[in-house]
Symmetry: C2
Subunit: 332 residues, 2 copies
């Protein structure tokens, strides 16, 4: 982390807010932390590490007027960490690249730091470096490092005949996002419904468990919607899939939102940012799968088929149609 | 690198433009490259790695109307790689987080990719992942990974009595920046002077050489100006310094710019983005230092003193004054 003169005070505040490693020689695995040109990591013999970066941009990924700074800090780290969870990696370190206007360097930055700190503690991560710049809007970019105790669980391991599972329930974050977009987020009745959007549960322990579980063949986190992320898993594996609409565990939508046109099925199918895990397992091994793991539901929602069959959605009446990805895409 | 549907074509174009590792099992040291939730790196036994991130933002770090896309691509990777050079690390991999408006996804992105590819080839780096998003202005964030064959050379190793050196010449990038800021960059006479700003030379080989050279005690790259980066080195080491103004190797400023008030001494002292290496060496070892290494001048510009002396600038007439950092700071 470059220390600049007045930037130095910002960096110092972030460093104090978030669990971090500074200077040299404090930890054997971080010979150099915050305060030099680069951080230095000392990896254990034959270690495998998962690395990923993710950006959270004001007016693209969040509205500063609607989403508390604490949540922006929490979620910026949580989103990136979900990529580690989807590989079965244990989160360890992160770099933070932050750009923001001068007027966000006071209370906003303090709350942001507290939120990021909460996420770092939950996931067991340490800040090891980064950089700070000034920009008219808030830009957060996080690079995460996770250790792989087992082989990584890739998107590409699914085979025809495997069963398809999802963790948790889908659609709650998209419901929250729709509430914000419609300007309903200040309504007392709807405020509690924003929590899944602002503080998504990241399946770190479940990801590590599944990566080590016999028979699990492929895994991805649902960041951009089930229809989109299933298409990615299928493309990476060279397979098709049958998805049963009625099996998808979905958010319960209050009647007042149903009246406004909110549809639980559509939210669960295409809504992003739930960060649940979508995974496949060999049929024989999957027979013994529990219906939940440490309180998180694991639901069978379909099967993997040959690629030539495409990705088909089975309706309640038994009829099927080709499923088109309709989740989040910046350039669509 | 998340593959989205229409983002997928952008990512594919970047992947093809830049030396990269995709998919699983292509290289022993990259068990998983572009195309999964995270990249996986397999580190050699007891390896130490330097990691750093750096952002390049439109209208903050560059003007899209003045700086060619090819240069933005080149420099985004070069800037981050300079942090590895300053640690003595060998550049190996990078992650790219890119946000840009739809109208930049054609010719601009192609030229950006070519520039980044040129830098990646020069430095011997491979793209292993990243993410793409849409944003009204261009945002580039790069995370770099470099292997440390020797102990890292930190900012904090300088001691009173050490000699102070700098590589190359200083002020050329700041002169180019001033030409752009004054709107002179379209003048044929001044165009060649923009090259040090648009295509900075990164001292990768020199950094590795110095990290392995006996007696070199501390090192930093000059990204924000000599006065600022010397202050950082001194702060990290807990020392002061004496800097001789007339010893600083400086850019030659053409008469037509001197008339416009350009001052070589000020540019060399406070101008950023030269990415030369500032380093200290024990006096006994430094006696044998060559005046140049592989064609790059290594110039003694001062000495390290006790912290209580502060950082003093010795003028041509022998008088000295306290040197205040006046380089680049986003929040000053």
């Amino acid at each position: 982390m470059r220390v600049k003169r007045s930037e130095a005070s910002l960096i110092e505040r972030i460093r104090r807010a978030v669990p971090s490693v500074s200077g040299a020689g404090r930890r054997a695995d971080v010979p150099a932390g915050i305060g030099d040109d680069a951080a230095v990591l000392q990896f254990r013999r034959s270690a495998r590490w998962a690395v990923s970066c993710d950006s959270v941009l004001e007016n693209i990924h969040f509205l500063a007027g609607a989403q508390p700074a604490h949540s922006v800090g929490y979620k910026s780290l949580a989103r990136a960490t979900s990529d580690l969870a989807a590989m079965g990696a244990a989160p360890k370190f992160f770099l933070l690249s932050l750009a923001l206007p001068a007027q966000r360097t006071g209370a906003w930055l303090d709350a942001f730091g507290k939120g990021m700190s909460q996420a770092a503690r939950e996931f067991g991560m340490l800040l090891i470096g980064g950089d700070v710049a000034r920009h008219p809007t808030i830009l957060v970019s996080v690079t995460v490092f996770g250790e792989l105790p087992f082989a990584a669980r890739m998107r590409s391991g699914a085979r025809a005949g495997d069963l398809l599972f999802v963790s948790g329930r889908l659609g709650a974050a998209a419901m929250g996002n729709e509430i914000v977009l419609r300007g309903l987020h200040r309504t007392a009745e709807f405020k509690p419904l924003l929590r899944p959007l602002f503080y998504p549960e990241i399946r770190v322990d479940l990801g590590m468990h599944l990566a080590n579980r016999r028979g699990v063949s492929a895994m991805i986190d649902i960041s951009d919607g089930l229809s989109t992320d299933l298409a990615r898993l299928c493309a990476a594996s060279g397979v098709g899939a049958r998805l049963r609409l009625e099996s998808i565990p979905r958010v319960s939508v209050p009647a007042s939102l149903v009246q406004r046109g909110f549809n639980a099925g559509q939210l669960a199918l295409h809504g992003g940012e739930d960060y649940e895990l979508l995974f496949t397992a060999r049929r024989a091994a999957a027979k013994n799968f529990p219906a939940a793991w440490r309180g998180v539901p694991l639901t069978r929602i379909g099967e993997i088929t040959p690629q030539s069959r495409g990705i088909r959605l089975i309706q309640r009446n038994g009829r099927s149609e080709l499923l088109r990805p309709r989740g989040w895409d910046h350039f669509r």
